[in-house]
Point group: C2
Chain length 195, copies 2
DNA sequence: GAATTCATGTAACTTGTTACATGATTTA
DNA sequence: TAAATCATGTAACAAGTTACATGAATTC
């Protein structure tokens, strides 16, 4: 129940609503974990029945009521226990729809493939420009959850990983485009000489 | 239904049993997609009802019967349609349990954290030594499915991505270890001067 | 006037994981 | 003698996705 534990972790910083959890998620953890709103609400329900959280309703005028979740003692214990026990195999399964298509790309037209890889490249560059602005990201996040610099050190480590991997994807895409363009050239030359 | 389409792709190379599909998966696609046996059998069943595959049983003596799956015309069409239509957003959600723990590592003891990151580093180095032997990997795979060099070009591209990302993880872990070790030093110095 | 934000969720569905069952043969 | 390989699956459960519903207030 990794998502649940991640939510517990955030609630160990401060009590929050499901909606706020989603926002914090999207602005910090998002580059290495993600979750839909509906999934968050389900997890919160489960954990409340487990006794890891308790919730209070805060009335608001002109806006829907808020349900604010607070972590319990039991929740904290469960979180720490989870946090300390890293899985036996740290290497995580990757699932990339994109790479599956590259794998079978011999059945595609090279210009179409090039188009998609260029699109991929642009996307990664955009990601980099968001992640790359580390200081802003961390400051925003620090404000959002009112946490000290001791925490920021570790957030930085995860951001570093995100940035590095994004740069790697960019590098890959650039090399990829080059080698496919060469291939296109060869194919054209072959056409011209043999026909 | 990405897994289904991946299986279709493999069956477009040659008819295979579920068991063989699993083996091919583990030795080629595994570094960017993975699947359990039980999931493969379920997908195959689904696709057979869809009419994308058909299967024949081959009796064997002293071994269980084989059910050999062959892709149909409809299956081929469905596969190509899927292959050509890349998703609107190519950037894929990452889910890393490991990074979640790093994110919350301010609640861990630094020596314990260091131990886990070193373990991560070793794992990635092992992965690299498997993936890095590209020629062997591709040759094995080529034999396994009896495919030509036109396909190998694209397999190579996916392998390149895997290798690059693994190297990046190694680099990250090394830097990470350095900066945590410095942090440990500071903490010890602080202890010695203030107490 | 349409889209976005705030804030809650439910329901249906699809995927992914884990555990179990069978049973002979080969390798360590 | 224990384990791994070959080869099939089923069942139960956990997690992720998509679509829908409500409804006021604000921004474009």
């Amino acid at each position: 129940m990794s998502l649940g534990h991640t939510l517990l972790g955030l609630l160990s910083y401060a009590p929050m609503t499901g909606y706020e959890l989603k926002r914090v998620f999207d602005q910090s953890i998002n580059h290495f974990w993600n979750a839909q709103m509906s999934q968050i609400y389900r997890e919160l329900n489960n954990m409340e029945t487990h006794g890891w959280l308790r919730s209070e309703i805060e009335k608001q005028d002109a806006k829907p009521d808020k349900r604010i979740y607070t972590i319990t003692e039991a929740g904290n214990t469960a979180f720490l226990k989870w946090l300390e026990k890293f899985p036996a195999i740290l290497h995580e399964p990757v699932r990339s729809d994109f790479l599956v298509r590259i794998f079978f790309a011999s059945q595609l037209e090279l210009p179409d493939l090039l188009y998609e890889i260029k699109r991929f490249l642009r996307e990664q560059q955009e990601t980099l420009s968001t992640l790359g602005n580390t200081d802003t990201v961390i400051k925003n996040y620090q404000q959002m959850i009112k946490a000290g610099t001791d925490k920021a050190f570790f957030w930085q480590l995860t951001l570093n990983m995100g940035i590095k991997h994004t740069k790697t994807s960019i590098e890959w895409a650039e090399e990829c485009i080059k080698s496919i363009e060469e291939r296109v050239k060869w194919q054209n030359e072959y056409k011209n000489t043999s026909h």
